[in-house]
Amino acid sequence: MDWQADGTMAAPSIGAPWQTTKETRRRLQRFRAARRHSRLVRILRRLLPVSGVLVIVAIGLAVRLAAPGDFDVSVARTTVTRNSVIMENPRLSGFDRFNREYTVTADTATQLLSAPDEVVLDGINAHLILPGRGTADVIAAAGTFNNAQSKLDLRNGVEVRSSEGYALHMQDADIDMKGGTLATSKPVRIEYQDSVTVAEGLHVSEGGEVIVLDGNVRTNLMPPKRAAATGTGETEEPQPGDRE
């Protein structure tokens, strides 16, 4: 933390774009340690908000499962209140280490000074390129990101649409960034091409490679010939399993 000439505190310089996750973690740990121990920082934490960039970086880490590459950030407006920092229309886009582009936007991101490790988001929209499997759009009404545990809890309706033809509808989703897992214990509905599958819970691991649905799994699918036989371009939307 270095003081600027005009007496305000300069944002912690992120310096060169972070190269590797170890580098990122070490840098974060050093930053957090510095923050915790030095008395100056404790005073500052009460007087001055944590810099906006750190908040945005937190969101970037939240969604980007792979190690962060370089990224750029834009924020429509930052409002600093006595006890929180509010970002409007934060937008983060960048490339991960596989040079795949990602973009994360939210209507607002709020960080309470009392809980600097948490960022409350609403109107989340992320566009990601999945390893080897096209792109995916994640839309969630609300969510909380915890920087310390690198966990993102999405709430009030979550939808994941992938260019591979998957559409995943959930009520909530708990994402563990480090572990690369996503889980929900509430009803889930997955549409894939012409099939619809519902279940009472879901657990995704290995960054999306393995998807496990639990509890009363029901899949409805149309036999292939039928779609071909009718020769119609689109396939009829199969009515979801009526039997609950």
């Binding site: 099939s195 599958t197 490679e209 393995v210 799994v217 899949t219 036999p223 292939p224 071909a228 119609t232």
Partner: protein, 166 residues
Amino acid sequence: QGFGEAFTGLSTDSDQPIQIEADQLEVQDAKKLAIYRGNVRVLQGNTVLKTAELRVYYTGRPGGGAAQSASTSTPQGGPAGSSVERIEAYGGVVVQSDTQTATGNRAVFEMAKDTVTLIGNVVLTEADNVVRGERLVVNLKTKEAKVEGGRVQTILAPSRTEGQAR
């Protein structure tokens, strides 16, 4: 007899939707494999297949697999028909339709060839007729059924005996 009838429901030709029920479904996307486990039931029309584990091998391409089968090869890959190539059932299989039941250790559905093969102490019953064998191969389109291997033992219950154990 038309033991193939037992499987007619499960033919990819019929236009009735297929419903699969299970306690759990695991999708391994890299291997394009979906595994249903626990009280697995596959329902189509009036045919029910019950098994312990069902493995569905699909292709990533919409309309892949079956669409390539000779009879309906739609060059442009066709509409997004189910891209299921092969289904395997393990841990005991029971296939029931109105009048017939077929059981075996496991079963393999080859979508492209439109056949299902029941393997391992296969028993077919229709009313009082019972056929046993090692393998049963059914062509889902032509409904033709062949029991092969082991001692094919056919017990044709004489028609007018009472108290015939069903």
